[in-house]
Symmetry: C3
Subunit: 156 residues, 3 copies
């Protein structure tokens, strides 16, 4: 019976794909910080208009929406709509005992689509390019979720 | 001792409730895509105003907020504020060894409130209706979290 | 070999830190509800302008952005950018078999930074204060994620 143990190579594969996706989410926060500091704009709160290390020359326009910074927040939002569901779905998928090759394609495949989606988004590729990678990643999660349901029903 | 194994019917119950909620999150993304394509509006990025398969007649007003599309994004946001916490909380709750009947009520109960909340939201029911189903789902997660803490303290 | 079992005190530590963070996320939703009711503003949807228990004197300005309510939503968003990734990362980190003392510092340390971050945010401290606690929490998650990858590679 499949288990959540390091002796199960599918679980080790999941651990790596999941940890890469966790770094992806956290890294996106840092891209926002970098763009905010570099452009000196895209601040989130009124109190950020105080003079300090982060903001040397405050100006009310810094609270306005700025595409350079907001783009990173939109990528982050898109990540949050997809990655946390993947992180849990992948773990449950391991319990269904998939073949290692199939599991690797699904788990690393999802991770790859999210990384490419981010590159497509921050280089402002067309909506079609972004949509394609979003779609593949989303379908992978949904297929895994359906397999989890089909498998688990027999154990109720 | 309770465990994360298919031999534990509470875990199988969690697997199903969690996978349904994962499909809920991913499906909400597709409702946004459907509404964006159907209404030809609610686009997120300046580059989406290029002519392409998704957007045949670009127009600057497509970037404006549109309640039909934004409603789906608001439902999605509400999901993200509740479902990822549930997905992990449910898993930890399984470790506390709850009775199958009680666990089923909590896990399927949460899933039901989220599905009804979405129906109430996208048919624009009153704030009171939406708030009721939000409340029940939120309380279920908080009760499970408190039980996890009470149970785990003895194992430190 | 480390395992996801109550016999592993690192896992029990994770259970507590994770459950506290789940209560943090859910509680933030309730802070938004409280501020929305108290200020009678910051409503999210057009249909919320109907007379009812929640809204006794509807007025179109209630749909406008209100910093008092939006501040709670921004804290919530910041939570969602950090806590779900932590919840899964902490679980995977348990599988790497860390020392109990080190694991406690990482897991409780993250939880502490998020609680202090929220206090700093809702009392409108400077951006530097908020950024400091965000940074410590974010680095903890990233360090754990890197350790998960380094550890798991040997089991492929």
């Amino acid at each position: 019976m499949p288990e959540l143990s390091m002796n199960n190579p599918v679980f080790a594969t999941y651990m790596i794909a999941a940890a890469v996706m966790i770094l992806k989410i956290m890294g996106q926060g840092w891209m926002t910080v970098y763009r905010m500091l570099k452009s000196d704009s895209g601040l989130a709160s009124p109190e950020d208009l105080q003079v300090g290390i982060i903001n040397k020359n405050p100006d009310a326009s810094q609270l306005e929406l700025n595409d350079y910074v907001d783009r990173s927040r939109r990528i982050h939002r898109n990540d949050l709509e997809n990655i946390p569901a993947f992180l849990v779905c992948g773990l449950l998928f391991v319990m269904t005992g998939p073949e290692l090759m199939y599991a690797s394609i699904m788990l690393y495949g999802f991770a790859a689509t999210r990384l490419i989606h981010t590159i497509a988004y921050f280089t402002a590729q067309t909506h079609e390019v972004r949509a394609t990678f979003y779609t593949v990643g989303s379908v992978i999660v949904m297929v895994m979720a359906v397999q989890v349901i089909m498998f688990s029903i027999d154990y109720l």
